[in-house]
């Protein structure tokens, strides 16, 4: 089983990202389960959403404490949210950032990837300049690095489930998937968060 945690801010679409990933992965033959962390969510505050993927129906209904991979929709969350908590060694951390993966020196022991999702979302008119909606872009980038489903599966999920700006979301996702730049983290042992 693969477990994923998505960190975002209220309004960025972390919950929808987990749902679109689930639908995309399910449409390509795997079983899925996704759910949001429930607390006092409000716009701009740190939120989290979760995803499980397996070859069989998923009976496990607990919180996810030790994810295999983490997706971070806002790079500033790295200092305020426990993004590496419980993360398995060598897990993927995909960060929405214009910086290089190597510049996140505190995240040693993980496979760190970055993508400037704000820019891609902005280019396609998703959200506003100050509050871009990056969920579809980040979902596409995550599928590229995790290989959990194809971009076609994601585009189909967007087509079925996103209420507005479907074509812009699909175009942005395709761009993110194609342009995904990978900078693999250096250390292999999990000593992150130092």
């Amino acid at each position: 089983m693969i477990e994923v945690r998505i960190h975002g801010r209220g309004g960025q679409g972390a919950v929808i990202a987990s749902k679109l990933l689930a639908s995309a992965i399910f449409s390509e033959g795997k079983y899925v389960q996704c759910f949001p962390a429930i607390g006092v969510e409000r716009r701009g505050a740190p939120v989290a959403a979760f995803l499980r993927v397996d070859d069989r129906f998923i009976y496990l209904r607990t919180d996810i404490a030790e994810p295999d991979h983490v997706v971070v929709l806002d790079q500033r969350l790295i200092v305020v949210a426990p993004v590496t908590e419980g993360l398995k060694p060598n897990g993927i951390i995909l960060i929405n950032s214009a910086r290089s993966a190597r510049s996140f020196s505190s995240l040693q022991g993980y496979r760190v990837y970055t993508i400037d999702a704000n820019q891609i979302a902005g280019d396609h008119g998703l959200g506003s300049e100050t509050a871009p909606i990056v969920n579809t872009v980040m979902a596409a980038a995550f599928l590229k690095v995790s290989q959990l489903a194809t971009i076609e599966g994601l585009c189909k999920a967007i087509e079925d489930e996103v209420p507005i700006k479907r074509q812009a979301n699909i175009a942005a996702s395709n761009q993110a998937y194609a342009r995904m730049q990978a900078f693999v983290g250096t250390a292999m042992k999990g000593e992150a968060g130092e």
């Binding site: 749902k19 689930a22 639908s23 399910f26 079983y31 899925v32 389960q33 996704c34 759910f35 949001p36 429930i38 129906f57 998923i58 009976y59 496990l60 209904r61 607990t62 919180d63 404490a65």
Partner: protein
Amino acid sequence: MSERKVIMGNHAVSYGVKLARVQVISAYPITPQTQVVEMLSEMCADAVLAAKFLKVESEHSALAAVIGAATLGVRTFTATSAQGLALMHELVHWSAGSRLPLVMADVNRAMAPGWSIWPDQLDALSQRDTGWLQLYCESNQEILDLTLLAYRLAESLSMPVMVVYDAFVLSHTSEPVEIPDQSEVDAYLPALASRTKLDLKTPAAFGGLTSPEYYFEFRYMMQQAHDRALVLMDEIGAEFGRRFGRNYGALETIDCDDAELILVTAGASSSTTRVVVQERRRRGQNIGIVKLRLFRPFPVDAIRRVLRKARRVAVIDRNLSVGCGGIFAQEIRAALCDLSDRPEILGYVAGLGGRDITLALLNALIDDALERKAEEGYLVFWGLKEETLYVER
């Protein structure tokens, strides 16, 4: 054609209600139930569901509205949680005594205070003596299927049925669900044909004064309806299986035939318990699960048949009747106490107010249940943070 979609538990109810061709819906929003009626209101607005959606100012009014509609002989739906259900309480009794075939979804949410939106079964269990049938769900598929089955039960018996499922663990969790084809649902669930309804051409009195000469028999007939429900649940659950490929009975038993220890669960924690028990079986431990699906009526005979063979039974209650213990444990004890060869029964209370019921918690609980002295197992609080307690004087 049926289709498979990744949907949350709340929307599984909405799809079920749509497929049941419900005619009147009334509800008041409350977390974690809101999305159920939010989606239904969209379906009504988009005219994909030909129902009248009544917005009201409270849960009490919501139940009153569907009582009114059902008295006219139409199929209805409402949904709520926790304090919302408590506010309905007077009419929960009323609707059962009126023998109305209502269906309500209750998303199990802890009673406040402490203010909580997280899962705990006490809200629904507090309504256990009202006469409503209660069905507890383990997955989103079960939520949709039991919503359909609930209408069959309710309308066959002229009794209201509550479909109960855990806040967030199911309500806000999305997973694959097969959504049946409308024509297949129509064949399973024909249009409601009420025997007695408010009708100008055949006037009748409803809810009138009932003297001691009659009241007793009315209550006895409600008990008779519940007795019939025990038989009917298995019949229409089997029919559901023939039509849709998924069988439903009052209980579900997993690996119980040779089990030394049987865990009794209800709701979503049954699902995680399966994972733990499967692993224990692999290690050669004979452990089984009895999942309670139907809680009212309480399936005493079925429970006796399956549990009497075990050496020990550990009941996992995500609820607490303060001053007594876990409510499922109490009912299991009452069902078994007349048997001379009854198993030892341990009552565990766990996961109150949404405390996560983890693999580690369940594994430790099983270890404890195998070892604990039976006389020290009447009420065991499992997963308490001892360090946060203080002694009340």
